[in-house]
Subunit: 139 residues, 2 copies
Amino acid sequence: MLEKTLRRALERGGQRYTEQRGAVYEFLMSTDSHPTADEVFLAVRGRIPGISLATVYKSLETLVGCGLAMKLTYGDSSARYDARTDLHHHVRCLSCGKVCDVPGSLPEREVQRLREGADGFEVTGYRMELLGYCTSCRS
Amino acid sequence: MLEKTLRRALERGGQRYTEQRGAVYEFLMSTDSHPTADEVFLAVRGRIPGISLATVYKSLETLVGCGLAMKLTYGDSSARYDARTDLHHHVRCLSCGKVCDVPGSLPEREVQRLREGADGFEVTGYRMELLGYCTSCRS
DNA sequence: ATCCTTGCAAAGCATTTGCAGTCAC
DNA sequence: GTGACTGCAAATGCTTTGCAAGGAT
C-alpha cells in the first residue's frame, strides 16, 4: 500500500511521514499527466485545504530525494513530476507543454556508444525526450 | 564569413543586422563552452561595453529563431546556447552544470521505434543528453 | 522533549516586457 | 522616413528560503 511504501522510504532518510507528503505522493501515483508543482498543489488542496504551495514544492523534492518520483526538467517552463520509476521516456508538446509517456527504451549498446564520446565524464545516466505537437495543438 | 551568414539569415525573417547581434553570434561561434546568456553578456561586453543583458537575451532568441543557434534547456538552472547546428548530443555535469559535446547520434531506426509509441503526437525531433560528473567535480 | 515539517511572506534568480530614444535600411 | 532594435528599469513566473508555530516520533 502506498502509505507504507512512503513511510519506509522516508524513514530511510530520517524524514517523517506527514499527511501533506502522503497526499502529494498519492496524487502523483494516481495520474499519468506529469503535473507541474502548481497542478499538484491545486489537486491536493481538495483534500488538504490549508496546504501551501511551498509545502508542495518541498514534498515533491523530498519524494525525488527518496527515489519515489522523478523531476522532468527538460523544456523551458515549469518542472513536471512523475512517480513512474521504471525506465521510460517522454514526448513533449512544443506548443502547450503537455508531456506523455513513451514506452520502451534505447538499447544499452547505443547508449554505451555515445558514452564513449563523453571524454572525462563519469556518466551515470541519460535522459531523452521526443518533441512534437499533440492532437489538440495540431488543429 | 560569419557576418554574411548572419545577415542572410536575418533578412529571411525581415530582421536587421546589428552590431550587437553580430557580436553575440561571433562569440557563440568562437566557443564550444555552451555559455549561458549571462556568460555571453560578460564576453560580449568586452567588445560592446554598453550592451544590456536584455539585448543579449533578445539576440540569442533571434539566432535560435533563424536556426543559427540552439537553446539547451535540459537541466534545472539557466539555459545554455550552442551555435553548432549539426546533429550531436551533450553531456551535462550534475554538479556544476558544465555541458560538453558528444559526437555521434542515435540510429534513426531506434528513434523511429520510440516515435511509434508516442500516440497522437506528431513528432518533429528529439533531444537526448548524458548525465554525469565532470573531471573537476569528481575530485 | 526533540527535532522535523508546515505555512506564510519575502527573497531569489532567470527571463521577459513596456517604452522612449536610436538606428538600420 | 519608417519600422525594427536597443537599453533601461520594472515586471513576471517559478522556485526557494527564513522563521515562528505546530506536529511526529
